[in-house]
Each structure stands twice: as C-alpha cells, then as structure tokens.
C-alpha cells in the first residue's frame, strides 16, 4: 500500500501568539515550529499500516526551505521518503492544489492529513484534495482500519459517531484516537538524514483568499471571586448578572 501523508509546519502549542506590522503579520520571532500534532497522528497510523514491508509512506509539505527540519522529523519518525513543494502555503486551496498536482502524476492508495492545522484551523485541505482528485474524502476521523480493497473509518458527528467503508483511493483527516503519535528513536534520527527528500517547484494557480489582518480576543475583566461555601451566590450571579442560566 502506498500512503501519502500531508504535513504542515506550525507554531508549537505553547506559543504565545502575537502580531507585528499593525497586526498584519504573525510574529515568528522566537517561535518554535513543529510538525502539526494531528499530522503526527496521521503519520503514526500510516507507519502502523505499512509496518513489516506492507507498503511505503511518503510525506509531502508545501513550504519554503525553513520547513525542512519538520520534514526530517517526519522521516525520523518513520516515513519512507519526502516531497517538499517549494512555495509558501498561501492558503488551503493553494496547498491542496499543489498536492493534487503531485498526486495526479504519482498516485497513492490512501492520502492522510491531520484533521486541521493548529495555526489556521481550517480542515479544508482533505476535502479540497478529494474534490480535485475526484475521490472520496472524510474530515475528522477517529479510527481507521485498512482492508485489502477498502478501509473502515469512524467519523465524529455531533453527539455520536458514524462508521463508513470507503474503497481506495480516498483522503481522510486524522484526529485523536486514530493512533498514538510516535517518538523517533536514535536509528530513525540517524537514517532520516539520508532518506530522500525531493524538492519540486510549484504550479502557478490563482488563489481566492487573503489574510488582511489579525485580532486577539478581547481581554476579560477582573475575576469575581465567590466564597467556597457560598455557591448559592454564584448561581445567583450566573442567573441575574451574567444571564447564562
């Protein structure tokens, strides 16, 4: 089985988010970039499914040369090889389009993404890729079992779950539950340096969205403390003042 895992390079989860240039640029000063946590889950499952010579795992990233440390991390975790499309990831459409171009020339049985990237929180790449390749897509899966010609996936729905069978090839966005992220071992880290990382140039395409500026959430006022033995007071405040119950 040939699996493609789409990975993105995102600010570490502990990052305090700030902006520069009149709130139009994300301030990357001092920010540590990591492999998107959901992509780590997708990668871990892809490695499990191909373990013992049952296939290959290729990772693909749309990014400039600064993302190579993240790509090498994916190789250290266990991917077979890697592709970097040499361009800034303008938006989800741009990223999906570049990956689709690659996949049209190099077909895969299964394409995995993370459910969303933790920076722009879209979960659009999986669906767009599915549409561009005219194959099924499932966003936000919690479980993935691979059979010979089709896979069984569990998808989250509000207040429940849905179980589907899907023939290959298809695209799915992995969430918690699909696999436990893997930590690279020393052998993985050593071999990652020599695994193939191919850089391909992007295809020009029109984009449809532009980030104009950023805002940070409005700060909340000072917390109102209520005595531990006066819970009735809290209930009254929530009812009469906050009007939420």
């Amino acid at each position: 089985m040939k699996i493609l895992v789409c990975v993105s390079n995102v600010p570490d989860t502990t990052t305090k988010i700030t902006f520069t240039d009149n709130n139009t640029q994300f301030n990357t000063n001092g920010v540590q970039f990591i492999l998107n946590p959901y992509d780590e889950i997708a990668l871990a499952r892809a490695i499990e499914l191909t373990d013992g010579g049952k296939g290959t795992v290729t990772v693909i990233n749309v990014g400039d040369a600064s993302t190579e440390a993240t790509i090498r991390k994916a190789l250290a975790i266990g991917a077979t090889d890697a592709i970097r499309v040499n361009a800034k990831p303008h938006d989800a459409w741009y990223v999906a389009y570049q990956i689709a171009q690659y996949v049209k020339a190099n077909p895969f049985d299964l394409i995995l993404t993370g459910r969303e990237s933790i920076d722009y929180n879209g979960s659009k790449v999986a669906g767009m890729l599915g549409e561009l390749l005219d194959i099924p897509s499932v966003s936000i899966i919690k479980k993935l079992d691979a059979g010979d010609s089709e896979a069984t996936v569990e998808r989250e729905i509000e207040g429940g779950k849905e179980v589907l069978t899907i023939p290959y090839p298809f695209v799915a966005g992995a969430a918690e539950g699909v696999a436990e992220p893997k930590i690279p071992n020393m052998r993985g880290i050593m071999s990652a340096r020599t695994k193939p990382l191919t850089v391909v140039e992007p295809t020009e395409v029109k984009t449809f969205s532009e980030i104009v500026s950023y805002e940070t959430p409005a700060p909340r006022g000072q917390v109102k403390l209520v005595a531990a033995d006066d819970t009735a007071k809290l209930v009254e405040l929530l009812h009469a003042e906050a009007r939420v119950i």
């Binding site: 600010p11 989860t13 502990t14 990052t15 305090k16 988010i17 902006f19 989800a92 459409w93 999906a96 933790i118 920076d119 722009y120 929180n121 879209g122 979960s123 669906g127 767009m128 599915g130 549409e131 561009l132 194959i135 499932v138 966003s139 936000i140 919690k142 998808r155 729905i157 509000e158 207040g159 429940g160 849905e162 179980v163 589907l164 069978t165 899907i166 023939p167 918690e176 539950g177 449809f208 969205s209 532009e210 980030i211 104009v212 950023y214 940070t216 959430p217 909340r220 917390v223 109102k224 403390l225 531990a228 819970t231 009735a232 809290l234 405040l237 929530l238 906050a242 939420v244 119950i245």
Partner: protein
C-alpha cells in the same frame, strides 16, 4: 445574486446551530438586498421544513430520497453546488459542524469559490471587498480573511450568531440532481447517536473537569451538574490522555474548540493549550483549590476551593435554584 444556506438535519430535525446559520445567512441577504434560499437534503417532514421560513429563508429546495437519507459527503456537495448554480448564489453558508467542515471545501472547489471556515461574525462588505472574521491559532486569535472570488463559501461556528425569528414563511420546492455513481463510493455502515447527552460542539453550557478530580470514578459529580444545567461534559487533555474520559470530550488546542454561553472548569489549572479551546466562551467559571491557577486570569467568576467540597454544594445550590425558578 442570492444567498444559499445548507440546512443540515440530524435524524430529520434541524438543530439550533442551523437556525443560527439561517439567521446569519438572512442578515447577509439583507446586507445585499437579496433573497435567501435554503437547501435541505434527506428525509425531513413538511412541519420541520416550515421552520426554515420562520428563521428567514424565502425559499426551500427540498432534496429527498432513500439514497440521500444519511450524509454522503460527495453527493451532498454536488447537490449544494447545483442548488447554488440554480439560484445564482454569490454566498453559500454552512454550519461549521463535522459534516459542514467536510462539505465546505468540496463545494468551494466545485464553485471556484474562496472558502472561510470557523467564521464567527457577519462579513464586512465595503467597496466591493468581502471580509470575514475566523478563528485562528486554535482560539488564541482571529484572522480577518478577504475572499476575492466571485462566489464565497462560509462555515459559521455554532453559538457565534444569535437566532432571529423573522416569522416568515418559505415556499418549499422539490429539487433533484442527477446523481453520479462516483459520488456514492463511501458507504455508511452504522450511525450511533447518544440521544441522552448534549453534544459538546453545540452545547450552550459546558461542565469540564481536570486532573483535580483525581480519577474517572469522581466524574459522577461533573455529570450530575451537567445534567441539572442541560450541559455537555468535557475534560482537559491530561484527563483524556489518561483514559479517564473519551477523546471526544477533550477541549483545547489539540482537541475541540468550544464557544458556549457558560463554561464551568473544575480542577483544571488552565494551561495555554486548554485556554485556547475555551477563549470564545461568553462566561467562564473556574473552580480550583490553587488561587494561583492561571485559569483564574481569564475567568469571569471563580471559587477558590477543593472540587470535592465545592461541587456537591454547587449541585445543591443549582437544585435549589431550579426548584424555585
């Protein structure tokens, strides 16, 4: 032009998040002096379809049939696209539900439209530009995104826009789209809905527990308070990582982002990753025995005290309030 809203149903019924999305789409139609069409897919009865008019749809395109009874991502995306073409829609609105997030990108590609998901406010339209505000960095910030395509696809976050009843009526029309076999490759085997529990992503009140509760056996208190308030239950990452609660309850940067009216956090210290997932809650109550817990800095109300002492008292107080209300 017109505005199109995809009125998603859950087991034949529309949820509050859909009425929010209709009210939101109505407001966009009003901004542009145009009409609002709703498209419903699946088996929804006439009484339920009539509700779409009550919240502002002028017209309803009703697509039914056994093949479409349950959600089929590709086929639904094709239908929404055809509905948008038929109506000449310039804006297509969906609710940012699990299904909506699967549909929006496919519809966007089909219509060559810019797609904004995680949207939390009405678009700002001036001098031909169309800008929307969406969540970014997992709730730590918002991005203002300009959509520069002729058609725009927007997915609205539940609990971010108020339901407005217009009291109107919509004309219901049957609509069908010739189906492509390749749209039905994914087959649903089973749907499990726990009807007795409030679903977390669209809950108005959430009661959430952290490591301060010491173990899964103590979740009875969280569940009792939640059920009294009609709330969904949630937890912090260490709790779901330890297997005390399912992953689907994990709220935070790598879990679910929620935006309820009231978020009650019990025994959660408030790590930056957890705060990211709850920052758009309207009111936050924190119960923690550590007065230095970072969560108090972003809370509206707080009680410094041990969960095991405070929760039973809070449950009693809520019961008393319910009895007197």
């Amino acid at each position: 032009m017109s505005v199109l809203i995809y009125a998603e149903n859950a087991g034949g019924k529309f949820k509050k998040s859909i009425f929010e999305a209709i009210s939101y789409a109505r407001a966009i139609a009003d901004q542009n002096n145009t009409s609002l069409t709703a498209v419903s897919i699946g088996n929804v009865d006439a009484a339920e379809l009539a509700l779409l008019g009550k919240y502002g749809a002028d017209k309803v395109l009703n697509v039914s049939g056994d093949k479409l009874k349950d959600f089929v991502n590709q086929a639904y995306a094709s239908i929404i696209t055809e509905a948008a073409k038929k109506e000449g829609s310039a804006v297509v609105v969906l609710s940012n539900t699990f299904s909506g997030r699967g549909l929006a990108p496919r519809v966007g590609v089909k219509l060559e439209a810019g797609v904004a998901d995680g949207v939390v406010a009405l678009p700002v339209q001036e001098g031909g530009s169309f800008k929307v505000k969406k969540t970014a960095f997992s709730g730590k910030a918002f991005a203002i995104v300009e959509l520069i395509s002729a058609i725009k696809v927007i997915a609205l976050v539940p609990n971010s826009y108020k339901v407005v009843e217009t009291g109107g009526t919509a004309q219901v029309e049957d609509f069908s789209v010739e189906s492509k076999a390749s749209d039905f490759k994914a087959m649903i085997k089973e749907i499990v809905r726990s009807s007795d529990k409030v679903s977390l992503p669209d809950a108005e009140i959430v009661v959430s527990g952290g490591r301060g509760l010491k173990g899964p056996e103590n979740w009875g208190m969280i569940e009792e308070l939640a059920s009294l308030l009609g709330a969904a239950t949630a937890c912090s990452k260490p709790v779901s990582d330890a297997g005390w609660r399912p992953h689907s309850e994990h709220v935070g940067q790598t879990g679910i982002a929620v935006s309820p009216n009231l978020y009650i956090a019990v025994g959660i210290s408030g790590a930056i990753q957890h705060l990211a997932g709850v920052s758009s809650s309207k009111v936050i109550v924190v119960i923690n025995k550590d007065p230095e817990a970072p969560f108090f800095k972003v809370a509206d109300y707080g009680i410094v005290g041990d969960a095991f002492e405070v929760l039973p008292k809070l449950i009693a107080a809520v019961k008393e309030y319910k009895a007197s209300a």
